[in-house]
């Protein structure tokens, strides 16, 4: 085990997969000469050369299409979006080409491509650069959507995503690149896609949280423990395919759920999780499923308003107390 940042864990995953499989290559804005806008690709150009680590012009739709074509002929591209906000420009290639090619070619073309980069809120980068887009991508059959919350998950899941034969949207959280955690040193360490992780065990209330909300939920759980409430924190890690079984198992034990997410509430992943819990565990619920989401407004620039728009420990604590009928 080594204690490293999520940024370093992602860098290790990329380095190991580039070394392991020569069909893997990286492409994106500033990934090569500049070592990546967030330094995730640091040192990779030097190590693997300009054929494997490729700078692109500011043309998201273009280089995403290039990636899909490369994947069709047998390569394993890893496309970096400087942030997922810019993936909006590439959605035609992601949704209409990458997600549907296997189906529309009658199974002839797998698209083993990873689209990765930071998503969600950052620090005062305002409305256009602070978006959580996972529910967009998770909506479409044919794509997998992965959102790690720890350094180990980031490394293990990115390696699995690169080895996966289907298109994967891999959303890192911009605020979390510097978060540190223990990561196994084994170069064969991977984490399977579609398997949730119980980040903390508890008996009274289940908090389903992903990405940025996992550390927030864990802090809330610590506070609640002082108040005599035992919380279980479940991190789905993969949004599609969603490991609803692990979530439902937890709900059957605790009978109460809070779903916490950084994204807007309408048509969100949290809405989907709440619905599936209702469908599968209705008779085990002692309270309505409570959702905590980001504010239903474009992200404000002002620091105080930005803080109010992102769920925090206090809101999760209050939600847990509400479903546990404590207030």
């Amino acid at each position: 085990m080594s204690t490293i940042t999520i940024r370093e864990a992602l860098n290790q995953a990329l380095r190991e997969e580039l070394a392991r499989d020569e069909t893997v290559f990286l492409m994106g804005e500033e990934v090569a000469e500049y070592d990546g806008a967030y330094k995730v690709t640091k040192g990779l150009l030097k190590e693997f050369g300009a054929k494997r680590v490729i700078d692109t012009p500011i043309t998201e739709l273009g280089f995403s299409g290039l990636g899909v074509g490369a994947a069709m002929v047998g390569l394993r591209p890893v496309i970096e979006f400087m942030t997922f906000n810019f993936s909006i420009l590439a959605t035609d290639q992601i949704i209409n080409s990458a997600a549907k090619m296997l189906y529309m070619s009658g199974g002839q073309f797998n698209i083993p491509i990873v689209f990765r980069g930071p998503g969600g809120s950052a620090f005062q980068v305002s409305s256009q650069h602070s978006q959580a887009l996972e529910s967009w991508y998770a909506y479409f059959p044919g794509i997998k959507v992965v959102m790690p919350s720890t350094a180990a998950d980031a490394k293990g899941l990115l390696k699995s995503s690169i080895r996966d034969d289907d298109p994967v949207i891999f959303i890192e959280q911009e605020r979390m690149y510097g978060n540190k955690g223990e990561v196994p040193d084994d170069p064969e360490f991977t984490i399977p896609l579609g398997v949730a992780d119980v980040k903390r065990e508890g008996t009274d209330v289940t908090i389903v949280a992903r990405s940025l909300m996992v550390p927030v939920a864990l802090k809330a759980a610590e506070q609640l423990e002082q108040q005599g409430v035992s919380c279980e924190v479940v991190d789905p890690r993969t949004i599609r395919p969603l490991d609803i079984d692990t979530i439902v198992e937890s709900v059957k034990k605790t009978n109460r759920v809070v779903v916490a997410e950084e994204s807007h509430p309408i048509c969100s992943v949290g809405a989907e999780i709440a619905t599936q819990i209702m469908e599968r565990a209705f008779d085990y619920l002692d309270a309505p499923v409570k959702r905590i989401s980001g504010a239903d407004v474009p992200m404000p620039y002002a620091k105080n308003l930005e803080q109010l728009a992102i769920p925090d420990v206090n809101r999760i604590v209050a939600a847990v107390r509400e479903v546990a009928y404590l207030d």
Partner: protein, 436 residues
């Protein structure tokens, strides 16, 4: 840490259990997994295991007493641990309930003090509480119960009437906590009443009602009652009767038992085997109506009604169509024995595809049986007796037996049932078909 031992759910239909025997005394050491008591459920006597290590400190429900699911029946703890709070929590509960009931009855109209008065009073005018919180009656203005899905299920399993509860959640929602509180308040077990003296000694009053005695219905009697009304009520029965010449079957039985007296094949075993063979030939009878679909079974799982001390139970011979007569005979004997000592496991008396009830040994000539849902049919078998019959225009004496099949008309029609019975009769009259 001291732990409560609660009445566990030991059968799929169990709502309360009776302590048949404590296997440990107060003060005995117990370890997890060790048998603690024998519990008489609605179907069988089952062993309950300890779920904690320590000493059996206190028995709260004595042998012969019943407790609903989830009620505390004992406390396990360390030898010198203070368990007073756990014990008083469990035993003080009924008093509290009574006190509450009295308070609540005051605002009620001067009705007869029926047990329902509590619920009526509760919904009419909730009493105020010392803690200042105003619990609203769960039956809001609309009269609709507001209850969490979990609480609704827990109440159904524990047999608690939701209308007798006050919800502590928002809008008076009944929540898990309320059901747990209700479960921990043990119901006063009604003591069996002695014969009321309707007649004073030495006098002979006119038109006096005859004496009677009330005994609490046993668990199994309650389940039988519940099951049977779910049958004759919603299941449209019709009945088909035929008379079967049993001479060859009886001869075959004699012949087999002469080969090996240990086999002890009975006529009923042959009937089971023949029914199974006929069921496989008529899959439309080996079926069950399941509201939205009809389930056809691959094998003939034949239920055999067995009379036991205070009721009946139907152990199942699985895949009887694939078993030999000697296997069926041995299995029926073993199942019936355990049925009588009430040691059957739930999976051994549920899930038959067809049943047979034989009252021949009681000299009954013919009768009709009630279908055990969701099975599609049941065969009622009467006694075998020598009768004069006409064969080739001559009166001869034959061993005759009458059977009546009750069919669920939703899945079996008259002609379908008749054809099955025809096959059954053909094989039973010529058991050689079994080996053809």
């Amino acid at each position: 840490m001291a732990t409560k031992v609660i009445m566990p759910k030991l059968s799929p239909t169990m709502e309360e259990g009776q302590i048949s025997r404590w296997l440990k005394k107060e003060g005995d050491k117990v370890s997890m997994g060790e048998p603690l008591a024998e519990i008489d459920t609605d179907k069988a006597t089952m062993e309950m295991q300890a779920l904690a290590n320590g000493v059996l400190r206190k028995i709260l429900i004595n042998e012969g007493q019943s407790a609903p699911l989830g009620q505390t029946i004992a406390v396990i703890g360390e030898p010198n641990e203070d368990i007073a709070s756990l014990v008083s929590e469990a035993s003080a509960a009924p008093k509290q309930e009574q006190a509450q009931q009295q308070v609540q009855e005051q605002p009620a109209a001067p009705q007869q003090p029926q047990p329902q008065a509590k619920a009526a009073a509760a919904s009419a005018q909730p009493s105020s509480r010392v803690d200042g919180r105003q619990p609203q009656a769960a039956t809001a203005d609309s009269g609709r119960l507001i209850v969490s899905p979990l609480a609704a299920r827990m109440a159904a399993e524990a047999g608690i009437d939701l209308r007798s509860l006050q919800g502590s959640g928002p809008n008076g929602r009944i929540i898990k906590k309320d059901i747990e509180a209700a479960i921990s308040q043990p119901k006063a077990a009604p003591a069996p009443q002695a014969f009321p003296r309707a007649v004073e000694p030495g006098r002979f009053p006119q038109a006096a009602a005859s004496g009677y005695r009330d005994e609490p219905a046993s668990e199994i009697r309650k389940v039988i009652a519940k099951r049977l009304v779910t049958s004759l009520g919603p299941v449209p029965h019709f009945f088909l009767t035929t008379e079967i010449e049993m001479d060859r079957a009886a001869e075959m039985r004699k012949g087999i038992n002469a080969l090996d007296p240990d086999l002890k094949i009975s006529i009923n075993d042959i009937i089971i085997k023949v029914a199974a063979a006929a069921l496989i030939q008529h899959p439309e009878v080996n079926a069950s109506f399941q509201e939205k679909f009809i389930r056809y079974y691959e094998h003939a799982d034949v239920g055999v009604a067995v009379a036991i001390e205070d009721g009946l139970i139907t152990p199942v011979v699985r895949s009887a169509d694939q078993k030999s007569l000697s296997e069926i005979a041995a299995e029926v004997r073993e199942l019936a024995e355990r049925a009588r000592s009430r040691k059957l496991k739930p999976e051994e008396y549920t899930g038959a595809s067809f049943s047979i009830s034989n009252l021949g040994m009681f000299g009954i000539d013919e009768f009709t049986a009630v279908i055990n849902p969701p099975e599609g049919a049941i065969l009622a078998v009467g006694a075998m007796s020598a009768k004069p019959v006409v064969r080739d225009n001559e009166i001869v004496i034959r061993q005759m037996m009458r059977v009546t099949m009750s069919c669920d008309h939703r899945v079996i029609d008259g002609a379908t049932g008749a054809k099955f019975l025809q096959t059954f009769k053909k094989i039973l009259e010529n058991p050689l078909y079994l080996v053809v």
